[in-house]
Each structure stands twice: as C-alpha cells, then as structure tokens.
Symmetry: C2
Subunit: 392 residues, 2 copies
C-alpha cells in the first residue's frame, strides 16, 4: 500500500450543496486546534451561539451547532420532541419530507402524511385539514426549502395554522438559512435545523439547530429518555449551555467550529437582509440567462427558491453526460435530480459564496458550450447578455 | 454585535484529547471543498477505507468513518447491533463503560453490568462469570483503553471468552487506535469504534468504525429498523459501500475527511508497529521524569496505557490552579480527572503527534516550575535528566 496525500481538484460548486467555501473559511479551519474545554474555545462557542441566533432571527437560548451534518440535525429535532406512541403530521413534497417520516417512525411515533406534488409548495389547506383531523398530533413537520425540488413553502402561514391547533412546529431550513427570508421567532418555529454547507458557504459537517422555550418545556417534561445519547439536548446543553461550568459531553469538532464561526462573521459583515437580497438578485440573473437559452424552471415563480434552481433537461439529452462534461472540462459541478425528479432535472445552486456574478457567467457559458456541442435544441449567444441585463 | 474572526492561541495539547494536530493535517483540511459525490472524492473515500482497515488490522468490508465524533461512533455500534428486548453485558471500569450502559438502555435493551474499580482493567474472571450466567446475552461490550483512567484491558482475552460463549464483542478503542497494539481480526472484535482526535492526531469530529461479517449478518437480519436514521449502517453503506453507484445518504464532512486521509497517510508512512513503539518509548521517558519528580501513577504498570498517563496530585495542591497556570503561562494543556477521579488526578496525554520528546520536555519543565512555585512537595532539578536517560 502506498497511498499519498490527497490534492483535490479545484471545482466551482453549483449543485445542491456543498456550495463554494469562502477562502477565509477554509483558512479559519486550518488554525491550530485547541482543547474543547479551553477557555478561549468556550468564548468562541458563545460567539457562535450569538451569531446563530442572529442568522435564525431568534432569541432562543437553545440555539447550538450539532456536531454532525444536517441529517443529524433533523434527527436531533425529532428524537428530542417525540416519544413512543406520539403522533406527528409530516408534509412531504420532496425527498426530505420522506426522511422526516422515517425519523418519526424510528422514534416509535406515528406519522400522519400530508402529500403534495414534487416541485409544489406544501398546501396550507391540506395542513389545516390534517390539524383538524388530528387534534392529538404533537407536532407539524415540514421542509421550508425543499432541496430536492427548489420549492419554498410558506413557513409563516404553516406555523400559524399549527399554533392555532396548539401543535408544535418543526421546520427543515437546511437550504433556506441565510439564503432567503427566515424568521424563527416571528413565525413561531419551535424546532429548526439547518446545515453549514448551503447558504452559509461553510464546509459540510455541522448542523445548527434551535428550540423555542415551548419546545424546551416539552423536552424537559419527557416521560422517557431521548433515544439518542449523542443527540440528547438535555446532555448537550451541559456543554453548550450558559452555565459557568462546561461539562464534557463529547469532543467538539474544534476546527469545524472555527469554520462555522468565520462563516457567521462573514454573514454578519454582509448583513442578513443583504444576503437574502443578493440571493434573489443573482437568481434573477441566472434565470434570465437560462430562460434565454430555452431552459424551463420546474417550480412556479411564486414558490421558487432563489438559491436552488431546478430546470428541465432539453429533449434527447443525456443529463449525466452533460454533468460529467461540465465537471471534467470546466470543473463545474451542478446537481442531478433526486427521487422522482432523477434524470428529469438539473439542480443549479446559487448558495452563499456560490451566489456571485462570476459563477453565473461560468455556468451559463459552460452549459451553453456543452449543450450546443451535444446538439441540444437551445438558443446560443443570448444567455450572457440576458443575465447581464438582469444584473443591472 | 461586532464579532470578529477567531484566532485561537497556540497550545501544546497533552490532555486526554484532542492531541496536537500535525500541520500537514490542518493544511489538508484547508484544501478546496469538492462535492461529496465528485468522482475525485469517491476515490479518496476508497483510500480512507483501505487505510482504516490497515489501522484497525482488519479485512472487514464495513470499515468506515462515521461523520461525527467518537460518541456517535459508540452509538453507531450499539444501535445497529441491539434491538428492543436484547441483553448486553457491559464492563465498567471508568466513565465510558457508563456511557455504554446508557446506550444499551436507550436502545430498549437490558445491560448486565460487570464492575471493576476505576484505574483497574476489566477482570476476565468476572466477564466469564457474566457470560455463563447470561447465555442469552447478545454482546459483550468493553473499553479497551479507558480514557478516564489510563487503564488498558486485555481485549484479546475478553474477546475469546465472549466467542467461547457465542457472544458478539463490541469494543471502544477511542484512545487505543494507533497508540498501542490493536488487532481487530486476530482478536475477534465484531464491532469497534474510535476517534480521530487521539493517537491519529487528527482534528476531532470523525469516528472510524468497523463491523465483522458476523456483526453485519446480525444487522442485516434485524427484526426492526435501526432507531437512528443517521447512523443506520444499512443506509450509510449505500454511500460508503463498494457499489459502483454511490447513493446520497447525507452530505459527508468533506474537509474533515481530507484531514483524516492525511492523518492515515502519515500513520502509514511511519508504520503501525513503529507508532505503537514510539508511544511506548515516550511513555517511559515521561514516566521516568514524573516519577523522579515524585509523582505517582494511578494505574499498575502492567495495565498502563502509554498514551494516557494518570498521575496523582501532590498533597495540598489545587489541581485546577496548576492546570490554569500551565495553560496561561506555558500554553500547555493537560487533563483533569473525570468522574470518581475528578480532583484527584491529572491525565497527561502522549498521543499521536503529541508523543514527542519536545512535548515531554515542555511538560516536565513547566509542571516542575509551577509545582515548585506553588510549594508542592516535589523533587526539583532531576526530572529532565531522568527523562533523557530513559530516551536513550
């Protein structure tokens, strides 16, 4: 065996995540490792919590980064809130609603499914019907920004419906955090999780979560222990909580948290509302270019996420071959479809540091080059101009 | 709010982990992020698996890094092997045996406890008695290297006992991997987990695990789904397995895996047996210095881990004050006692890249400086010479 150091190719990441990581963030990640109980580290943890509260627009005390990817953040919210025998309403309009269902079942609870077509937002009327039919449901779970389709659901309205029925709300914001409007306290979200590798433009591996006081109250009054020791917020808060004494729970991923800290400093420098506006503006430019080329969007304009653009594939084109050529010839990654949309769409991300004019130009140029070379029925020579016009 | 970039102090890490991270590893971590399904990344994943098999001394196909810290690795082994109503024998001779008990209970299974004094190894006779008394036990779980005490148990003997009773073995090697002899296949370990931040000298946050064919067979034939979606090896192997098609499960912590890859390349360059020998030799040098100073070891020589040195605190000395001064005056971190040993011992790590002559000299010099300044009853002016003599 003689394996040598790994030097990755330098890519431009415009898939569904990870997105391009700002060089300030990878630099921060390479800073010297210190102990997870070092006073200097504990001070940094407090800053991370404070900046996460800003990013989520919440005053929730239980706002922390889980030491694992977004899927573990999802699991954190479910295993802490649900007990065996509970009932949960789960909305599914893409891959991640299905994953929520799996989480509910593995908690020994019963999922009540509210189904919507992939690419459509969650239908508030169906949710209201489900809430009425299931007054014993403990929570309503839905995905704010469906990464598998690019559809945005109206989290504000859905949360208000749930609260009208005295039901907790659990929301997936893996793709929305820092990429479009998200207001945890104003909307009344009780449990929320996200990821670092989308619109925060950080390296993958950490999942910010937040729980309202109402949710914390439910967790504190559980009859049974949380089934996951690692994700039990009662224990995690011994380390991340604001007590003077930080008790060892697990060894924090020190350098990954340096990276998250830097990503949040960058967000704070830009300003949350400015970040949202940048994502919207760059989406308009990419959209103008793609539509000029003749490509169509999967999601209706009213429910389209600016940070994740699902577009249909021209007739007769091998979509995987296009992605391979983009990667091999231009070091550009765009995403494939997932689940029922596999083979039918591309997912083009404009998330965080990837949401830049340079990336839009590269994407339109290289996509046009590959598609026209493959004989696709697309308009050539017009996309860049359309994008530039939309940027003004 | 005006939080700025975090620049950590530069420490020497000689606690129970994280250990000093080799600069090659932090540099690797800062390389450009690529997609978790990028062919270049998938190739790197195969190398990581291959090098983990070498580090564990196993041919197990299911040998992968879990995308979370060692505590999640522990949970991975328990939730995959246990179902509700199962029985598991758990040995406790320190903090981590207690955590194993928690894991068993949270799986809805019953722990049969085998207790030994903290600082002592697990007693094979007690284990044999427990195996005889519980022929229906599904597995025997124990900690190879107790990080809370510095005691090493005889994993080879314990595993053979378990197999004589047709019981699976589950072993915690968070602190032993790459620091002392560990042979998964030869000893017959069925499920094992470790951490990156100890003798691999990597950044914290990833947990290497491995399952034998016998264990995989048990997992495949489960009656119920694994209670954790995130840690379900049936699903994780869709991404990490050797199938041509890598299915998305969760977004891998790309940069953290660059770091692990580099740590494993360094281990391979040194050679596993050489790394074990280095840990032993450096332990002898540190030990000679500490004993010359007059400090005593907690664990009997025969069962002492070379990479984790628990020593008693001189009479009348405020142990926390000593650690604070070491940190503030010399940027040196050593560990406090945990659990029943809290306030009674220090834990001095010589793990991975921390296991170096330079660190031994710094530790002895600064400890002597602080202790003598605080009026402790220790011998001065003799520790360094004793350590140097032991190095020859």
């Amino acid at each position: 065996m003689s394996i040598t150091s790994f030097n990755p190719p330098v890519r431009t990441l415009m898939g569904p995540g990870p997105s391009d990581v700002h060089p300030r963030i990878t630099s921060a990640m390479a800073r010297p490792t210190i102990g997870h109980l070092d006073p200097a580290f504990v001070g940094m943890m407090d800053e991370v919590k404070q900046m996460l509260q800003y990013a989520f627009q919440t005053k929730n005390q239980l706002t922390i980064p889980v030491s694992a990817p977004g899927s573990a953040g999802m699991e954190t919210t479910f295993v802490n809130l649900l007990e065996r025998g509970d009932k949960a309403i789960v909305c599914q309009n893409g891959v991640f609603g299905g994953r929520m269902k799996e989480n509910v079942e593995r908690c020994g609870a019963t999922p009540i499914m509210v189904e919507d077509e992939w690419g459509k937002p969650v239908d508030p009327q169906k949710v209201e019907d489900a809430l009425k039919a299931n007054p014993d449901a403990k929570l309503l779970a839905f995905v704010h920004a469906e990464t598998s389709t690019g559809a945005r659901s109206d989290a504000d309205i859905l949360c208000k419906l749930a609260h009208d029925h005295d039901t907790l709300t659990l929301v997936d914001t893996v793709t929305s955090l820092a990429g479009c409007e998200l207001k945890v306290d104003e909307w009344g979200i009780d449990a929320i999780y996200s990821g670092t590798q989308k619109c925060l433009s950080c390296t993958p591996g950490i999942s910010p979560v937040s729980f309202s006081e109402r949710a914390v109250d439910v967790i504190t009054k559980r009859n049974s222990k949380v089934q996951s020791w690692f994700l039990d917020t009662n224990l995690v808060m011994g380390y991340w909580g604001s007590n003077a004494k930080r008790a060892y729970h697990h060894t924090a991923p020190v350098n990954a948290l340096y990276a998250l800290h830097e990503a949040l400093v960058i967000l704070q420098e830009e300003g949350l509302e400015n970040a949202w506006a940048r994502h919207t503006n760059n989406h308009q430019a990419l959209r103008a270019g793609l539509e000029a080329m003749g490509l169509a969007f999967v999601v209706d304009e009213a429910h389209r996420l600016p940070q994740l653009n699902s577009v249909t594939i021209p007739d007769g084109i091998d979509e995987a071959a296009v992605r391979s050529r983009l990667l091999n010839e231009f070091n550009l990654e765009i995403g494939a479809g997932l689940g029922t949309l596999a083979g039918r769409v591309w997912r083009i991300g404009l998330m965080g540091y990837s949401s830049r004019a340079e990336n839009i130009f590269l994407c339109l140029s290289s996509l046009e080059a590959v598609l026209s070379d493959m004989g696709a029925d697309v308009n050539t020579g017009v996309a860049l101009e359309a994008a530039q016009a939309a940027m003004k």
